[in-house]
């Protein structure tokens, strides 16, 4: 009896998740009347704006990951090594982006960094790109920090630091050649999650008026019929790819540890 209900609940749930995925895939293939074809995908891939916005978002994601790693790894390391008393404060700050909606944060950016302010970032395209990168870093901060901090918990930070110091290593060497390789798995899994978040992000990019992938998808959705579901399939594949890579690095590391 229990088993019957369990299967029933589970299959109903699966149906709910499968239908939209089937729906978007089917719809994206229907561009040619009366038969299935990949015309919608061809249209999407022929659109120059697709490649422009996609590569823009990809570059921004890379920048976000670099800034995030440079910011989070040394901080989490330092807090573990020397400043355990600062830990609650830092953790609280890293959780704030989950509390304050992205739209409110970007609203603050627009008002704070306008052309007449002390740091007129929105005045130029490059400045806005920097601002958007910082915004994405903020959005990814809770995940990145959690991931890296958990990674640091599994290694003996103090001993590794002392060993490196006694061999004459400076702080930069310790961070880049001792700590970073040891938390690489955590960094990578944070990075793939960041990639998934940044590639589909809409609100910040739209309000800062930057040509990112999210606003492009929205624009296409407002004007076309068959290309949007094709884009949805592509976006779903990208999300799936990011999560798959995340799992892969985690599993890979488990094997490494099992061997050691």
């Amino acid at each position: 009896m229990t088993r019957f209900f369990a299967w029933g609940t589970f299959l109903l749930g699966c149906l709910f998740f499968a239908l939209p995925l089937i729906g978007m895939t089917e719809f994206s293939l229907k561009m040619r009347r009366g038969e299935y074809s990949f015309d919608a995908y061809r249209r999407v891939f022929e659109d120059q704006r697709f490649w422009d916005t996609f590569s823009y978002s990809l570059i921004l994601a890379a920048a976000t990951i670099v800034v995030g790693v440079l910011l989070v790894v040394p901080t989490a390391y330092w807090v573990r090594l020397k400043l355990p008393q600062a830990r609650p404060v830092i953790e609280f700050i890293t959780l704030l982006p989950l509390v304050i909606p992205a739209i409110v944060i970007v609203f603050g950016y627009i008002r704070l960094y306008n052309t007449s302010s002390f740091l007129p970032l929105t005045g130029s395209a490059l400045g806005t790109d920097i601002l958007l990168t910082m915004g994405y870093t903020t959005l990814a901060l809770p995940y990145m920090y959690r991931s890296v901090d958990t990674g640091l918990r599994t290694i003996d930070v103090a001993t590794l630091t002392e060993a490196a110091q006694s061999l004459g290593a400076g702080w930069i060497t310790i961070l880049s050649r001792i700590i970073l390789p040891n938390v690489m798995v955590a960094v990578l899994s944070g990075a793939f999650l960041t990639l998934a978040i940044v590639l589909g992000e809409f609100t910040m990019a739209a309000l800062l008026n930057r040509p990112a992938f999210g606003p492009f998808m929205q624009l296409l959705g407002a004007n076309r019929a068959y290309e949007p579901p094709a884009l949805a399939v592509i976006a779903f594949a990208i999300t799936w790819g990011c999560m798959g890579l995340m799992q892969l690095v985690t599993r890979f590391s488990k094997h490494e540890r099992a061997k050691a």
Binding site: W7, T9, F16, G23, P101, F107, G200, F202
Partner: protein, 290 residues
């Protein structure tokens, strides 16, 4: 440690220097922008202190936007919790094969991140006017969803769409909590003569209650701040707070910049309440999960 006496005075400030980059980043890109909004909500256009902006939120249009948003977040959080819990419980306790669980967790990880614009497209292709399910129901069974009053671009359409990321989030958070229920508790209850229903009502649910309520709060905040899905689904006309704020930032539709601050401030207050409830309850529930 020969240098200890000399180093003692220097040590404190130097150590705090190590987190300076992080603090500068957080102040510039998280705290100052938020303060700008909070302070702006209490300011007149020329900078004086006022409560008028908050009082001005009390117009029929803004009130109904907040009310719709709260209702939407509440309903999707409630349904997300209930369905997510049922699915997680089915997988953990339902005697299902082990091979089901990992794919479900992986899929939940993907689906909880598959929000925003593409999610809206997927639902338009499925439940929209010419979507897969709509057409199928009409041609095979003669059921016309439109005539029955269902519209994807309405409140319940949004609810169904939001559930696609709410349920997986619930599954991701609640499976570890269900794993924390020890087998011994169930056996102890059975030894004392409890039925299955009594075990759930008097043992398992009270233990799970903080994490259930906490996850509910998290799902609530998650739905409350979501912009992209609703915007891509319905465009700028749907009257919920994030969309209203979006339109206000783009073009000052309220005709008063400080009222925009107040609108955003209201959002912070509501999501902050929900999140602090979540964090507080999480700390409480983790006592049981060791």
């Amino acid at each position: 440690m020969p240098k200890q006496t000399g180093g003692q005075r220097l040590r404190l400030p130097l150590e705090w220097l190590g987190i300076l980059p992080f603090v500068v980043f957080a102040v510039l890109f998280l705290i100052l922008p938020t303060m700008k909004i909070v302070v702006g909500a209490f300011q007149t256009p020329d900078g004086g202190f006022t409560l008028q902006n908050l009082l001005d939120l009390n117009t029929p249009s803004i009130r109904s936007a907040y009310w719709t948003s709260i209702k939407l977040s509440f309903v999707t959080a409630l349904l997300g919790c209930a369905i997510g819990f049922a699915m997680a419980a089915a997988v953990v306790f339902g005697g299902m094969p082990k091979g089901v669980r990992n794919p479900l967790v992986t899929f939940s990880g993907v689906a909880s991140n598959f929000a925003g614009v593409p999610l809206a497209f997927a639902f338009i292709a499925t439940l929209g006017p010419v979507g897969l399910v709509t057409v199928w129901l009409r041609t095979e069974f003669g059921i016309n969803l439109r005539a029955m009053g269902f519209n994807l671009l309405s409140f319940w359409g949004l609810v169904i769409t939001y559930l696609f990321f709410q349920i997986p989030l619930m599954i991701l958070i609640i499976i570890p909590a269900l794993d924390g229920l020890k087998r011994e508790w169930r056996e102890a209850a059975a030894v004392l003569g409890a039925t299955g229903a009594q075990y759930w009502r008097m043992v398992a649910l009270p233990i799970l209650f903080p994490s259930l309520l906490g996850t509910f709060a998290l799902l609530f905040a998650n739905a409350f701040g979501a912009v992209a899905t609703a915007f891509a689904l319905t465009g700028p006309q749907l009257n919920i707070v994030p969309i209203k704020l979006f339109a206000q930032i783009r073009g000052d539709v309220l005709g008063n910049p400080n009222l925009g601050y107040a609108l955003a401030f209201g959002m912070i207050v509501i999501t902050a309440l929900a999140n602090f409830l979540y964090i507080w309850l999480r700390v409480r529930s983790e006592r049981w999960l060791k």
